[in-house]
């Protein structure tokens, strides 16, 4: 690299203000001694790894060391020849604003300023730079002494660390969730069995009473019927709990997802009442097989289809789609922390069930997979349906995503691994 004249037109007073101790005798150095001192300073500036500049308010560089040239790719001649070097160095308006603000602050308050910015080098490379600037006031013109430290590698390491930390947190949350679900499952299974036995006795008892009460005894008859229907309700809850606890018992096979979708649709077709609900099928024909438990995935689709139908009491459109994606296209709405289930660019099959119904509020969307969360009231459901569905998809190492807008509709996307 061609040697550069670092110190140019700088006065001895200004050099003194830099703190360079070359005035031992109290007399100003002139001639050879001053030149020698400049050479010494040049040598120091050359070996410094950081970029060091001394510039005036007009942006003219008096000092521009080798470190600065290496950092930016621009020589001092190029920097001085450029009418707006700041814009060249900081094409991003945000960084440019920060750099200019720093100069203004330095001029106004005269205090040292430290900032982190992103510069663009001559080769177009982005570099993170830590700048420490100080003002050297002068009668004729103020000078700015700046030290530029390349912190790109630190920033990258920091970014990687942050990413690793986030991933670790996500995995930890996922593990906690899985353990929690397993614990709930074990508990649910035990409780459900213990509850079913007394329910059996109560139901037989009610059957006995039913025969003893004539329908004419209206109140008593009604109460007996009420007990009976509540036994069934309690039984539904424990059955759902049992089902929830068993989501993990799967038997995987390579299956054609469109066939599973069609058979699920067949099972709920009696609940879909055309022409109020128009079914729009967009199924890709050349999909690879997916590794699934047929019955469980059917259960997922039936649940999503029934929810879609229930969301459209006055009719609407029910879209059923299947297509293939590469995993970097994944988008997750209601579910967080499942991003690592697919490798980058891994092929996956997506099934989408979308309705144009009432939609789900943002608050409810956040709680939608929580066990026992329901908006259907005591007679509508137990609130375990989607918790079970989520559990099933988790066991398939897949992703379930629910996007919804109140009044517009809901889109359920299930992303499954290719066999």
């Amino acid at each position: 690299m061609k040697k550069t004249n670092f110190i140019n037109k700088i006065t001895v007073e200004q050099l003194e203000k830099l703190g360079v101790k070359y005035k031992k005798t109290g007399k100003r150095l002139k001639g050879k001694k001053l030149k020698g001192c400049n050479v010494q300073l040049q040598n120091i500036l050359t070996v410094i790894h950081e970029g060091v500049t001394l510039s005036d308010e007009a942006g003219h560089f008096y000092v521009y060391n080798l470190g600065m040239r290496k950092l930016t790719g621009y020589s001092v001649e190029e920097a001085n020849a450029c009418p707006d070097f700041i814009s060249l160095l900081y094409p991003d308006p945000k960084d440019r604003h920060m750099a200019l603000q720093g100069i203004e602050e330095l001029l106004e308050r005269g205090i040292n300023r430290e900032s982190e910015v992103v510069i663009t080098t001559k080769a177009g490379q982005l570099k993170n730079v830590y700048i420490s600037s100080s003002l050297i006031p002068d009668k004729n013109h103020n000078l700015f002494l700046s030290v530029y430290q390349d912190i790109t590698k630190h920033k990258q390491a920091e970014g990687a660390l942050q990413k690793a930390y986030t991933k670790l947190k996500e995995m930890q949350a996922q593990l906690i969730q899985i353990e929690k679900m397993e614990a709930i499952g074990r508990l649910a299974s035990g409780v459900a069995h213990e509850v079913k036995n007394p329910l059996g006795i109560i139901l037989q008892g009610v059957n006995y009473l039913e025969r003893k009460v004539s329908p004419e005894e209206k109140d008593t008859f009604e109460i007996v019927q009420m007990i009976k229907s509540n036994i069934k309700r309690a039984n539904n809850i424990v059955s759902a709990l049992l089902e929830f606890s068993r989501a993990g018992e799967l038997s995987f096979k390579a299956e054609d997802i469109n066939s599973v979708l069609e058979s699920s649709l067949g099972l709920v077709r009696h609940r879909i009442n055309p022409p109020e609900i128009e079914i729009v099928k967009e199924l890709a024909s050349d999909l690879p097989r997916v590794l699934i438990d047929n019955n469980k995935i059917e259960q997922v689709f039936i649940n999503a289809l029934l929810n879609a139908v229930e969301a459209m009491p006055k009719g609407g459109k029910l879209f059923i789609r299947s297509y293939m994606i590469k995993s970097n296209n994944l988008r997750r709405g209601a579910v967080r922390g499942d991003g690592d289930r697919f490798k980058l660019m891994e092929k996956a099959v997506v099934v989408q069930i979308e309705d144009t119904g009432s939609g789900i509020s943002k608050d409810n969307l956040e709680k939608i997979f929580d066990p026992f969360f329901t908006t259907k009231g005591p007679k509508g459901g137990v609130g375990l349906g989607l918790a079970i569905i989520k559990n099933i998809i988790d066991m398939h190492k897949g992703v379930i995503d629910i996007e919804s807008k109140t009044g517009k509709g809901t889109k359920v996307s299930v992303i499954l691994k290719v066999a």
Binding site: N197, G200, G205
Partner: protein
């Protein structure tokens, strides 16, 4: 009158089942709170159908089936499992032991009677 033997460790269940079945006037019911002495009881009562619980202390429903299968009189008697266990695996194991039907608690009295009648029809 057909004879029904009910084996369950829940005394309340035994009591109400006996009441419900006997009230039809079609059945004579014997209840056992354990399957421990099922074979001598079967020999003396000679049931037409046996209702068996799955999970019982000491001898469970499947073991009781095994004991009945190994007994000359017991092997021909239709068995209906009436249990709170509803796992597919439990049902599969029970059917493998030769049970005729598997009903999950809670069960309506009329459904239980229909199941018993079914067994009797094919006996």
């Amino acid at each position: 009158m057909k004879k029904i033997m009910v084996v369950d460790d829940e005394p309340d269940f035994l009591k109400i089942i006996k009441l419900n079945l006997e009230e039809t006037g079609n059945y004579e019911v014997m209840t056992l709170s354990t399957a421990k002495n099922i074979i001598p009881q079967v020999h003396s009562f000679k049931p037409d159908v046996i209702l068996l619980d799955m999970r019982m202390p000491s001898i469970g429903g499947l073991d009781a089936c095994e004991m009945l299968n190994n007994d000359a009189m017991g092997e021909g008697i239709p068995i209906i499992i009436v249990s709170a266990l509803d796992k597919e695996q439990d049902k599969y194991m029970a059917y493998k032991k030769g049970v005729t039907n598997y009903l999950v608690k809670p069960i309506e009295s009329k459904d239980l009677i229909a199941a018993i009648e079914n067994c009797l029809k094919y006996k």
